[in-house]
Symmetry: C2
Subunit: 386 residues, 2 copies
């Protein structure tokens, strides 16, 4: 029987109205699926292009519960939501994807790491601390040594809540919260694989992407698909991601970030149960972009082909240092002359240093040519203020 989501009474709720939601809405508009979106900000990107926009606190039980109780299906575009409310909605028969138990596993980094260990999934060794202050004791007793990666257990977005600790000095100013200390991996590459899974259990993995990071700001500079790594390593990475996906048994997308060690082993870094920055290249490069795929997965429609039509490289557009104010995308007209270049402007009116303002995707038959053009793009375009 045909599932009648299209131009019908079916209502999809989306918690979170940011950039990921905005890109999900391209797909719901393409399929004419009715959407209700909630976000804390009245200026949220999703406030236009959805059918109903509700301003509300995603972390508040009542707001989330009331938002979700009369939609047909509920999803998220950000993990920082009130999970108790989702659990209650699920009990009451509302379909929630990703499932609340998936969010529980992922939201707390200590619990997430334990999940990997419990399911024999490869990840860097770590210790969990109820408070950051316990770390000094552990170091004093030889239980922990420099350097290591400190991560707050709860929340943490886009580089905050993560710090490389190389000495006692780096311990100063750490918030005194539940945290983990992970072994610092001397990695060859940072990789990501997105896995889609629908309610029937159909699964598809995207190709492995390679992520080049900005050393200081801990933000991704280039996402390259396909990753320029040996086939055997790529297969290993996909296998690990698929294994995580099967053990987690999520519905929707799962973005698995991994390290490729110097010995070509794969270690899981983190995962996110939603469309992901590492998948934005898919809008122009893939047969099925990640946003359409997430919609297919949560609606239990057949999954689409995850292969690439062409190579794709994504460059993040972040606010240049030294500029705060109304944004100007300097030289954007010059980069538009380059072959295969597509800018995405997120719509934030104000720029400030390192603020994620957009991205540019460069597509080409040849990944090395794409990488050259991507570098030109990165050098030319500047996100400044007037």
């Amino acid at each position: 029987m045909t599932k009648n989501y299209f131009s019908s009474d079916f209502k999809l709720g989306i918690l979170g109205g940011g950039q990921l939601g905005k890109m999900l809405l391209y797909e719901t508009r393409k399929f004419d699926i009715y959407t209700r979106v909630m976000d804390a900000s009245s200026e949220a990107p999703c406030r236009i292009a959805c059918n109903e926009f509700i301003q509300g606190d995603l972390l508040d039980f009542e707001s989330v519960y009331n938002f979700g109780k009369d939609v047909d299906l509920l999803t998220i575009e950000i993990e920082n939501v009130n999970v108790e409310a989702l659990e209650k909605l699920e009990e009451e028969g509302i379909t929630v994807y990703p499932q609340p138990r998936v969010l529980r596993t992922i939201q707390n980094k200590a619990r997430q790491k334990l999940f990997y260990v419990d399911h024999n999934l490869p990840t860097a060794p770590f210790s969990r601390f109820a408070y950051s202050s316990e770390i000094r004791e552990s170091i004093a007793h030889g239980g922990l040594s420099f350097p290591f990666v400190w991560k707050s257990a709860q929340f943490g977005y886009d580089g905050k809540g993560v710090k490389v600790v190389r000495s006692e000095k780096d311990l100063e100013n750490l918030p005194n919260v539940e945290c983990i200390a992970e072994e610092l991996i001397d990695f060859e590459n940072e990789l990501a694989v997105i896995v889609a899974r629908n309610a029937d259990g159909e699964e598809k993995a995207y190709p492995v992407v390679e992520m080049e990071f900005h050393p200081e700001a801990n933000q991704v500079e280039y996402v390259i698909c396909p990753a320029r790594i040996p086939d055997a390593v790529a297969r290993k990475a996909q296998d690990v991601a698929l294994k995580v996906s099967r053990e987690l048994h999520h519905v929707g997308l799962l973005a698995v970030e991994m390290f490729q060690t110097r010995d070509n082993e794969i270690l899981i870094n983190e995962m996110a149960p939603r469309p992901h920055n590492s998948g934005h290249y898919s809008i122009e490069a893939s047969y099925t972009n990640q946003f359409e795929q997430h919609i297919r997965a949560i609606l239990n429609l057949p999954l689409g082909n995850t292969e690439s039509k062409v190579a794709g490289i994504m460059v993040n557009l972040v606010g240049a240092e030294g500029y705060t104010g109304n944004v100007v995308y300097e030289n954007i007209d010059e980069i538009l002359q380059l072959d295969g270049v597509v800018p995405h402007i997120y719509g934030k009116k104000e720029t400030r240093p390192f603020r994620k303002m957009g991205h540019v995707t460069i597509v080409n038959q040849d990944v090395d040519k794409a990488r050259e053009i991507a570098e030109t793009v990165k050098k030319k375009i500047r996100v400044i203020s007037n």
Copy 2:
């Protein structure tokens, strides 16, 4: 100097809020360009996803003039607009693309045909009549013979206002209006080429597409890119389209529909100064989709690569005969299983026979494989009512 259209005070006005406008808005949202849209219907697809929606009559002078007088640039997604108002706005310094003179040339089919003749552009022979009643006289005096194609000079959309006249009987019930009678061409193929031109005169042509028509309803069934025709014919078609574009000196897109005769000559059928049904395949198949290209062209940004990443075939979704009411897309979940299939649901709640309700694009490395899958799609999916 960087043209600051992005996340700025720049306002783009779009006359017409239908499906073409809806797809233009994906691009303005991608670039965060502020949009104001006008349409006669309060249920217009564009009413969400634009920044300001105005309900108003596109054919009314005051409505169009008031709409356009405080935007920075004005464009259209439908030719049926009040051109006097656009001329006044242009006089007063508002940039209007396509230019009002282009709309004048195109809106009246007799004037359009004369343009081709005056500029030595190949087109089927024709006669112009102030009233359809004059046709009988012309036939009686031997100035015109059956069969021919009758077309009303003013307006006419999607098959209406066009009729093949094979006998006296077919002349009955023709509206008694200004019209043309064109020689009926026994064509090998119907082709289309979209040409983009920006204000600096940069021009780019898309590949030639082939259009298969439904014999009775006079609507396109399949749009195939690349057209399966000899290279020499394709080059000829592109040359003709580029020549029209240069003679017309439009800004924005120009879709040129042509016949390939049995002798492999090219004859121009019609043109439209906006994104076009024959270009929808470009969303999934081209390096730069036609909607983004139109935006680039009218903003005088560099044009994007018009080449294809993969072959693309578009199938129109039209209401099945015998069904009127709330739409149901029967078997849409089955076609979603097929490789490279992307449905676009326009969002009209009610279906009726032959109503254009959406389209499906099938992409594949191989155009023949795409054509097979497209046929399966066409056989499976039915636009019915519940």
